[in-house]
Symmetry: C3
Subunit: 161 residues, 3 copies
């Protein structure tokens, strides 16, 4: 193997790692706009066919169910009042075709002349690169930061690279 | 064309795409510090000479006018009370020398012993790479997330790559 | 030097710049999960052995002291009530083995049925790439955005590339 071959391979590997991390940031940044515009398909498209979303109650199982969260009464009430689901800059760790990310999500809802944070949660994302090369969510776990140990465990679980 | 030439070109193209996306994240991240420190020139420098900013009222047209927003009475009152204009991680889509980004912006203003969100908006950014190679804002559209269909349309408009 | 050599070197330099910026985003994104899960070691690991954190009172000097902030009474009270330390997308400027970043931090604390922003600050990070190749915090300066000139100066200090 020539020196040029070695350097090309190293560049390709390192570039792929950055592309993966950037793609995952973008995927997570899409979640808010998708749910706040009540776009069932755009939400579902972020998840694997068999992916799930566990936000404390009975988990939503499968892409259809996850996309369907835009029709939940609570969600509709947030959106009607004026809502923003904001996802913070995540800590992303890629290992081959799997990745994890942890971050904070906040649901801001209009309340009189200002907006209040109605939900503030810790999130753990398990992601997978699928056969078409796209990263999608396998499971997302969301726990309210209400002082419980469970929410803190969600955060600490994603810190090791 | 040799195999090495093909691989070099592919690397150059892919790297440029990541550099563009990273430069746009940085551009958007500069907005808050520029307005919260009332730096007219730093705000203006983010926009194209003929760029515009439409935040609901009569749009600000041209870099000078956009930079001048730091002198608006509302803005001065926010800054005097203690303000932070925070822009969320955007969904960036680059196509050649043009790009779009969507994200959330929040204006936090000190209110007694805490900070309140005085504005929570959906943003659509149209960006252009100018002759000097720098990305700048052509138009930014900002709509309060107050339950109106218009704000939701701003978010859904930026989801397709 | 052949054309291929020139192009390989250019790619390696540009890729390294992006890797640095991405590593610094990740470092900053780790702060919140580390403090909200009261993980002293995870907080300390983000700082240089002799790094410091100045958030208005007497600065914390050295990695041990910085990690020890998770035991401060104020911090323990935030975490017990339910807290999220959220760091915004930073403006990162890398120069060789040193870098600066500026961004906003917010401490959300549960208050009845919603979360309030108990601290909203401007941050300036001085970072260094250490001998093991890892970026760590040399000093972090944090000032409440309470209308004071000092906090605004923190923001404006990081705008020039």
């Amino acid at each position: 193997m020539t020196d040029i071959e070695t350097r090309l391979q190293a560049l390709e590997t390192r570039l792929k790692a950055l592309e993966d991390e950037t793609a995952i940031l973008r995927l997570i940044a899409c979640y808010g706009p998708a749910v706040d515009s009540c776009d069932r398909d755009a939400v579902g498209a972020l998840w694997s066919e068999n992916g799930g979303y566990d936000f404390g109650g009975p988990p939503l199982a499968g892409r259809q169910a996850v996309g369907g969260l835009v029709d939940l009464d609570t969600h509709r009430a947030y959106v009607a009042a004026g809502s923003g689901h904001v996802l913070s800059l995540p800590v992303v760790t890629v290992k081959g075709n799997r990745a994890t990310a942890i971050n904070y999500s906040r649901v801001y809802v209009k309340h009189g002349d200002h907006w209040r944070v109605a939900r503030m949660s810790a999130n753990h994302w398990d992601l997978t690169r699928e056969d078409d090369g796209q990263w999608r969510v396998k499971t997302r776990t969301n726990r309210l930061l209400d002082g419980s140990e469970e929410a803190r465990a969600v955060l600490s679980g994603g810190l090791d690279r």
